[in-house]
Symmetry: C2
Subunit: 222 residues, 2 copies
């Protein structure tokens, strides 16, 4: 009967079912805690078929990381319309990010929690995705700066630092929102937008935070 079922379903569909089951299991149990038996059961296939398609537990975990990383970066990129003003781009990017992580909590757990805490080679896979998002956000901040500051451009290193801060804030808040009851994606995105924009927005318009008592806050040279 397994044979018949296997012939009816195209390989791509079956493979997607296995990856769905694997993301769910790895996301909840971690790499070491997940068993191939459980993944095969959840996918409704035999364990040998999982090995035939995905080769090993390590390759299966890597395939999960790559699929979820690609889906997340695609969702964020698709959410941002580069013809809109910078604050609107940021809002839509944040909304796309928090919506995707809320709708795919197991995928987010694989990326943010499990892959990073399991050691190599998995941490490097996530690191590559993170670098891609940081580069994207750095460009967005640089573009916004060129549009907003007529006097001088935000230095690239400062844009990169702000992108690191924003991505770190988003990661932390997404993990919190996914484990705190009653925090919809739109609310989490709104919180970060309110936190970030007036600050970033002030910088873009050349209005940094002003320290009391001339505390000599360094502003990067333009």
């Amino acid at each position: 009967m397994g044979e018949v079922k296997s012939k009816r379903m195209p390989r791509a569909v079956r493979e997607r079912q296995m990856l769905d089951a694997a993301v769910r299991t790895f996301g909840r149990r971690g790499y070491r805690g997940a068993s191939m038996d459980e993944i095969a059961d959840l996918a409704g296939v035999s364990k040998p078929l999982v090995y035939l398609y995905l080769n090993s537990k390590e390759d299966l975990f890597t395939a999960c990381i790559r699929r979820e990383a690609a889906a997340l970066t695609a969702a964020v990129r698709a959410g941002v319309d580069p013809t809109l003003p910078a604050d609107r781009q940021l809002w839509e990017g944040l909304l796309a990010f928090f919506t995707h992580t809320a709708e795919n909590p197991d995928g987010w757990a694989v990326l943010h929690l499990q892959a990073r805490t399991t050691g190599e080679p998995f941490a490097a896979e996530v690191h590559a995705m993170r670098e891609e998002i940081v580069t994207f956000v750095t460009q967005l901040i640089g573009d916004a700066s060129r549009a907003g500051r007529r006097d001088r451009e935000l230095p690239l290193q400062e844009a990169a630092a702000l992108a690191e801060a924003l991505v770190g804030a988003a990661e932390s808040l997404a993990a919190w929102a996914n484990t705190t009851p009653g925090v919809p994606a739109r609310q989490a995105a709104g919180t970060l937008m309110n936190f970030a924009w007036a600050g970033l927005g002030g910088l873009m318009e050349g209005r940094p935070w002003t320290p009391p008592e001339r505390a000599q806050i360094p502003v990067a040279a333009g």
Copy 2:
């Protein structure tokens, strides 16, 4: 000769030397990559003495995490003067955080990178420290809100979300600053202060980011 040396030096001093060597080795090589031989060599003691004092590699790593976590939270708490205005408290807290992580890059690598990516029971140790810092920052944001917003108080959940965002941003930026040449602690703290304050500050004074085209950004109910 080892015997004589061992008698001359108080246990507390010797243990500190071992922990210094262990933090440096774990921070650079990770838990699995670090060898007890290397740690003993670096501390200038015999390997059996390390085991006698710290029991096992696992206990030694746990002792490193606890020492570095306590030092970091103490540095941040000591940096914040609760009698100052909220923006000044935030600035001093950030400056203390980035100064400590810049001066103790191996300790920061143990906490942020190695302990979190080695699995349990180590990740839980760091998680406990992180919770303590998030709670501290949540209180700070709540206090600032009560001082700044005469109309209505920031809900606790919103203060907790902002604290998660701020701590995530600080962690991400500290890791970046420690691996990017030419980013002194004061500059990293200034970047995050500028990023965060006008945004947080706007919220405190009841001026959230205003969306264009009435995009229905949710503001948590007060």
